[in-house]
Symmetry: C2
Subunit: 299 residues, 2 copies
């Protein structure tokens, strides 16, 4: 039972014009219409609604309380409709209304935030949704259509329908707090020495497949946290040790809040990637991929 709309947008436009110009006549002039046409539109609206929108008992018509409600809320509807119109037009022009991005927890914040700033400055109408993901999380979010772009993924599995571009390199630094026992140990530190201390681990944010594991040495006690920021804070507080992305800890090491230690089995620097699904990329996605890989090439 599709209720036919008792309120029509052009009636709301007319109502708005009457309010803004002060009278039916002035509204008519502003709308390039004759006053009787405005009268007609409003009385049409009133009879469909079954409600008096104007009180005509005096000389000039004045809004009733119901009319005031209709006007105030109607204006929201009008702007929402115009917004929708332009969002649809932009989408047809391949500018997506929203872009969802998974950012791998290893991505140093300093590398990504400036890009976010210039994105939002350049594309103010596009909603940007950022999710921090860990290990397989970004990959899964991309595969499962929860994001359009995954940034900073290492060693992505080959997969039909996923494209990628190189972003940069991720190197790890083994860290502990200055007061931690390992800070005084003989370097390079071997696995067995490390294994005696609690390791800080960032939990994989993948919901379904947890096939990957981090830099873990078996039998080592763990403290698992849910984000890189928390992991580093925990290490700073001496709660454990671990390999951290170089970009995340450079400042803390320079400030003396963390100590960088050479280890026997230092992990190789790994290439990181930007990933997206094959198929029609919107312009905002293209812009972001370009900006990411360009800043990568510049380095």
């Amino acid at each position: 039972m599709p209720t036919d709309p008792s309120i029509r947008l052009d009636a709301l436009e007319t109502l708005d014009a009457i309010d803004r110009h002060g009278s039916f006549a002035a509204a008519a002039a502003a709308l390039y219409r004759v006053p009787s046409a405005v009268s007609y539109t409003i009385s049409q609206l009133e009879s469909e609604l079954g409600v008096a929108v104007f009180d005509r008992s005096g000389h000039r018509a004045v809004l009733t309380p119901a009319g005031r409600l209709l006007l105030d809320e109607g204006r929201r509807i009008l702007t929402a409709t115009q917004e929708l119109g332009s969002a649809v037009r932009r989408l047809a022009d391949r500018w997506e209304p929203q872009l969802r991005v998974a950012i791998d927890a290893t991505m140093p914040p300093s590398a990504f935030w400036p890009l976010v700033a210039s994105f939002t400055a350049r594309h103010p109408r596009i909603d940007l949704v950022l999710r921090e993901e860990v290990l397989a999380g970004s990959w899964e979010a991309l595969i499962e259509d929860r994001v359009e772009l995954a940034v900073g993924v290492t060693e992505p599995p080959a997969h039909e329908g996923i494209r990628r571009a190189p972003l940069g390199t991720l190197s790890f630094v083994f860290c502990c707090a200055p007061g931690h026992p390992l800070a005084a140990a003989q370097t390079p530190i071997d696995d067995e020495t490390i294994r005696a201390h609690r390791a800080l681990v960032v939990a994989d944010s993948a919901r379904h497949f947890n096939e990957r594991s981090g830099n873990l040495l078996d039998g080592q006690p763990r403290l698992t946290v849910s984000g890189m920021r928390t992991k580093i804070e925990a290490i700073e507080r001496g709660l454990g040790v671990g390999y951290c992305p170089a970009g995340w800890v450079a400042e803390a090491v320079a400030a003396g809040r963390l100590v960088e230690l050479e280890t026997v089995r230092t992990p190789e620097p790994r290439p990181t990637w930007v990933l997206w699904r094959r198929g029609d990329r919107g312009r905002a996605l293209i812009w972001l991929i370009d900006a990411l890989t360009e800043s990568a090439r510049a380095n």
Copy 2:
């Protein structure tokens, strides 16, 4: 420059019908219209928008991404419009869309919450906004048009344009924590004895005129808090003493968390009132006043 609306609601209705019934033809049948009329509406929409809403390259028309966005967001606009229509009709029928109520902090919660529950059950479409106010706060909120109703006010000043109905009586009980020194004092306690201990005071929530004061004894150290609940918790924790509305402390006294003490100058029970502005009362307001005063008469 009133942009004429490129999107019309009946086009959105048609779009919705096509999506729900699966084809132009089925939508036409559902709308009691001929298929070509549906075609006409949609191509009208598309040409005004300058965007293809359907992809007609295959046998059946299928929504483009832009069309999908238009449909999804358009549905919101449709329901918002219908809601607006019925809100306007209800308002014309004197059912206000929103009712704002100031509740004096002395009102025992047990007296008011059941009423709120039955209000929301009976009037699900009416937004109820409750604000707790202290001393002159309710009065001021009413005078300044920030609420339609003030509940539980004591000794309202006479004022042109404010109506009232009796609600009940408010009696005060002097309380302290079981471990507080006053708990062991000789009763009835006189003012001088009280004055040696910190008084808990609820801050007046009036913004402009603070003409009223509570049950204060001069020279007494105070601890001022911003709500009755906080005041009572503070007394329970032994942070001070004070007169409290009987309805607020009965349970704590019964449970032994508070001690009720007889004092020399026990305040008289005061009548409390329900207040509203003279003039057109909406039906929800009338309902609430009736319910409040009826439950008052029952006691």
